[in-house]
């Protein structure tokens, strides 16, 4: 039996906001990690979350993704409480801090798969390969890629599929300086299409990507 999540009251719902957190508190194994947090993110907005190690940035992201219930406060993601349910994951793409892939498939096949399982993919596999500078590695196994290339594949998978909210946990990991700039442009384009980006990062330059609102925990 899953524990009851604090349900969002009707007053919290706001059609102009993709994410609304009011007086949010989060605990991990009974230890308070975050408390009294207010956060909003509108469609088309990029919100970057920065702060020292251990302040709860990734924990907040997990909470927004419905993987960790709030201990107190109110939280709405797309007009409802975040829930670890298929309907939620159809609209929310979470690129976790560890790159992930399926064994025995090439880079291209990962992107083809991501595009194939969604009726209206955001990008074609070939466009994603080009955008994320992976065309030369398209027929390789992800295990043979460098850390930065593996991270680019994870990001490419997250951005190939359609979503309304994109949650990124330290997407700059392993990326070179040039590609970090490119990533900023890619995220700006995603936001321009109406998507909401919430990104946890230690890269202050990336945190100041065009039009981004920075929250320092």
């Amino acid at each position: 039996m899953r524990p009851e999540r604090p349900l969002v009251s009707h007053s919290v719902c706001d059609m102009t906001k993709a994410i609304i957190a009011q007086d949010l508190a989060v605990e991990l194994s009974g230890n308070p990690i975050l408390s009294g947090l207010h956060l909003t993110a509108a469609p088309g907005e990029i919100v970057t979350i920065t702060g020292q190690n251990g302040v709860g940035k990734s924990t907040l992201l997990r909470c927004l993704a419905g993987l960790l219930p709030p201990a107190a406060g109110k939280l709405a993601v797309m007009d409802g409480p975040p829930s670890d349910e298929p309907a939620f994951w159809r609209d929310v793409a979470l690129v976790a801090d560890e790159p992930a892939w399926y064994p025995g498939l090439t880079v291209r096949e990962h992107l083809k798969l991501m595009a194939a399982v969604h009726h209206r993919p955001r990008l074609t596999a070939e466009r994603a390969l080009e955008l994320f500078d992976l065309a030369e590695r398209a027929d390789m196994a992800p295990l043979r890629l460098s850390t930065g290339q593996q991270q680019r594949l994870s990001l490419a998978m997250g951005l190939t599929r359609p979503s309304r909210i994109l949650l990124l946990d330290e997407p700059e990991r392993g990326l070179d300086a040039d590609f970090r700039v490119r990533l900023g442009e890619i995220l700006t384009e995603y936001a321009a299409e109406g998507g909401t980006v919430v990104m946890v990062t230690h890269d202050l330059q990336l945190a100041q990507v065009a039009g981004a609102r920075r929250i320092d925990l």
Partner: protein, 470 residues
């Protein structure tokens, strides 16, 4: 090297009398356990055998030898404990001196494996008087095979030859069963002499090659062995599959396959499993050859019901195409990034194990001579096998927090037992009508066929329906 080994030993506590007693007791126990099968073998060797049984027996021996070669090749075979690999390999010490202890261990393993094969040979061909020659043949074959695997570890040419030999041994094993009456009678004595001479040559070359073995290869193999040892001592067998899979794909080029553009979305996940299988042609070939095993075992007079082997083989075949489900289970982030309903995902992922399991059952039952309603009954167990294979792929690591249950002869840990039964449980549940038919051997199978069709589909549907994102 001697000084370094004594320095390492000096940090360890001296062996106590209790330790020595334990070792001696363990050796006695092993001797007592081994004595009974040896006595059985020697008695069986004196009996008369038919040509069909000779062929089946030789097949099993050759399959055992092929498995020995494949395992040696997969595990290294030259490895060091992780600490030794990290500290001793990157020093000016003689490589052969560092690896000499490993070489001795490999020799001991080969001799033990060779003795088992050598003991089995006189039983297969009913030649009790040739036991000594058979033992020499078995030991020479395994020592030579291990030496070959050592050479293959650092040479692609030797590795290609070893793979070729593995294929030849497998093909000969199949031929032994398929056409037993055409088997030439090879004298064991001269064969043992030739194989022993070859083994000495290969052993000498392998011993010489140890000095030139690259540190990179040894470090990789030792890291792999370290993971394996950790997974074994932590009783986490699921991690072994993950490690083996990653090791395979890290060292193999992926041949590009065109993605079918008109493929319906719901079949995309199943297609990835097809891609994976097509990239490991050895695996379907091995599965195909394994369909003969129930028939071979039945002809060789091994006391295991043929249908039990068919069930085990079908479950293994189905489980061989569940990589995607396993990765979804172990890495929830990936499954969520995919953004597909877990039930839909699992339903699609059930297709390859269902089809492969069904194909395996058809072949195995046909070789066993079971056709008509029995064949139909067997095929209808495929959905239950697919459900079992998926459950096996998605099971969590062993839960070591579960209590020990005392059965009078000592405590049995519940966690590993439950882990081992996960998957087999619903496969068994879904094949109950067939199990009952096999036990009661009814004259009419119509009712059982209908019951099996409903049970198999119901178990698979229920498993998929109850699944959720890991």
């Amino acid at each position: 090297m001697k000084e370094i080994r004594s320095l390492i030993r000096s940090g360890r506590p001296a062996r106590s009398w209790a330790d020595r007693y334990f070792i001696a007791f363990a050796l006695l126990l092993v001797a007592a356990v081994v004595a009974q099968p040896i006595s059985f073998v020697l008695t069986a060797a004196a009996g008369q055998v038919t040509p069909a049984r000779v062929g089946a027996g030789l097949t099993l021996i050759l399959v055992g030898y092929a498995a020995f070669l494949a395992l040696s090749r997969a595990l290294g075979p030259v490895v060091l404990p992780p600490a030794d690999a990290a500290w001793l390999l990157l020093t000016p010490l003689s490589r052969r001196a560092v690896l000499s202890r490993t070489a001795l261990v490999l020799l001991a393993i080969s001799v033990a494996g060779g003795l088992v094969l050598g003991l089995a040979l006189p039983v297969a061909v009913a030649a009790p008087g040739r036991l000594a020659a058979a033992l020499v043949l078995g030991v020479a074959a395994t020592v030579g095979g291990m030496a070959w695997a050592v050479l293959a570890q650092s040479s692609t040419a030797w590795d290609a030859w070893l793979q070729g030999t593995l294929t030849v041994v497998t093909v000969v094993a199949v031929l032994c069963t398929a056409v037993p009456h055409l088997l030439p009678s090879v004298p064991i004595g001269p064969a043992a002499a030739v194989v022993a001479a070859t083994a000495v040559l290969l052993g000498w070359r392998a011993w010489s090659a140890l000095t030139r073995m690259p540190a990179r290869i040894l470090l990789d193999a030792s890291t792999r062995a370290g993971h394996l040892a950790r997974a074994t001592t932590n009783l986490d067998p699921g991690a072994l599959t993950w490690i083996a899979e990653d090791n395979h794909w890290r060292t193999h080029d992926l041949r590009p396959h065109p993605w079918p553009e008109r493929l319906p979305a719901f079949l995309s996940l199943a297609w990835t499993e097809v891609c994976r299988l097509a990239r490991r042609p050895g695996r379907p070939a091995l599965l195909l050859a394994a369909t003969l095993l129930p028939m071979v075992a039945s002809r060789a007079g091994i006391p295991a019901p043929g249908l039990l082997l068919v069930a085990a083989g079908a479950l293994t075949a189905a489980a061989s195409v569940t990589s995607g489900a396993r990765r979804d289970g172990n890495n929830p982030a990936l499954a969520r990034l995919l953004g597909v309903d877990p039930r839909q995902t699992l339903a699609t992922r059930a297709l390859p194990p269902l089809l492969l399991g069904a194909a395996w059952i058809v072949l195995a039952l046909t070789w066993l001579g079971l056709t008509g309603p029995w064949l139909l009954l067997g095929v209808l167990t495929a959905p239950a096998m697919a459900a079992g294979a998926l459950r096996m792929a998605r099971r969590q690591p062993v839960d070591h927090s579960l209590p020990l249950v005392d059965f009078g002869m000592g405590g049995i840990p519940v966690g590993p037992v439950l882990w081992a039964l996960t998957g087999v449980d619903i496969a068994l549940l879904g094949t109950l009508p067939t199990v009952q038919a096999a036990l009661t051997q009814p004259a009419q199978l119509g009712g059982y066929v209908v019951a099996q069709a409903l049970t198999g589909v119901a178990v698979l549907a229920a498993y998929i329906w109850r699944s959720r994102t890991p």
